[in-house]
Symmetry: C2
Subunit: 170 residues, 2 copies
């Protein structure tokens, strides 16, 4: 647990300068929810110039919106967000594998284990082959999703891990 | 789209000082995946002293590990992470509502719409009533999950929105 062992020390400077952040409220100030990838190279607050309290941030492998639906409903219906901004990024891990390959990796690590085989075969990893197409597809999915109110503004973006820049796709 | 309109401007200082971050690689340097809440008051990189490239960060409403499973498998089997650190936090939105209430809010906004009623009734929002109990439960769920290798180190933490401090629970 090398990383976890460093968290207390890593947290000390932040807590020492916490100051008036203690008065932040639960509803995001900018009324926006951001959906983006879990990739360690991304720091959404830093690369969008956001401060604590500004935006809800949902992250998963790829920045998959269907997996974010539960969170988005909570964010919209209970916390007052009125926008969703979806970010995918260049060199995403989702571009570098496919579901059958990953299922085989897991099954090869537990040969003959029928329970593990059944569990991994039940998961679609939602890889994609083109980041702009995947953004368009995810924005379209959200716009057609009956549980997302029609007046929620939805935009789609690419973050470039090579330049640190964001660009709007849709 | 007031928030989205500010992203390009908010991104400029970051991209201008991007420098050697362009050489970061896809696998997290600290071999750790962090699961935490989408809450806008949380800035996991800042409050753990992490830099870009250090850790995969998965965020959803509450920091629910079952919803993070797809991402964790990708992170462990393809990107080499060997630890999971789960963070829930004080004053979480998940403490302030329950699934039947939220379903009613959505149904009341679309009276008589059977499609919306069926869709929202199919979603469990996974609220909880005690943050330390919810952390213990989520860590236990991960430890018992057959698709998570047994040698993955798993820790559970609370982040305090009142102080900016983290504390380990399990």
């Amino acid at each position: 647990m090398a990383a976890a062992a460093e968290f207390i020390k890593g947290n000390e400077p932040y807590a020492a300068q916490f100051g008036d952040k203690k008065s932040l409220v639960i509803s995001p100030r900018k009324c926006v929810a951001i959906v983006t990838c879990m990739d360690g190279r991304l720091d959404p607050a830093a690369h969008l110039g956001l401060k604590e309290g500004d935006a809800a941030v949902i992250r998963n492998a790829g920045g998959l919106v269907s997996e974010a639906l539960r969170s988005l409903i909570i964010s919209q219906r209970l916390l007052g967000t009125r926008e969703v901004a979806v970010f995918h990024h260049t060199d995403c891990g989702m571009l570098h594998f496919n579901t059958p390959q990953l299922r085989n990796i897991v099954k090869d690590a537990a040969p003959g284990d029928a329970d593990i085989a059944a569990r991994i075969d039940a998961i679609d990893f939602h890889e994609f082959s083109d980041v702009e197409e995947s953004i368009k597809k995810d924005v379209e999915w959200l716009k057609e999703q009956p549980l997302i109110p029609e007046d929620i503004a939805i935009t789609g973006w690419v973050y470039e891990v090579e330049t640190g820049k964001v660009r709007q796709v849709v």
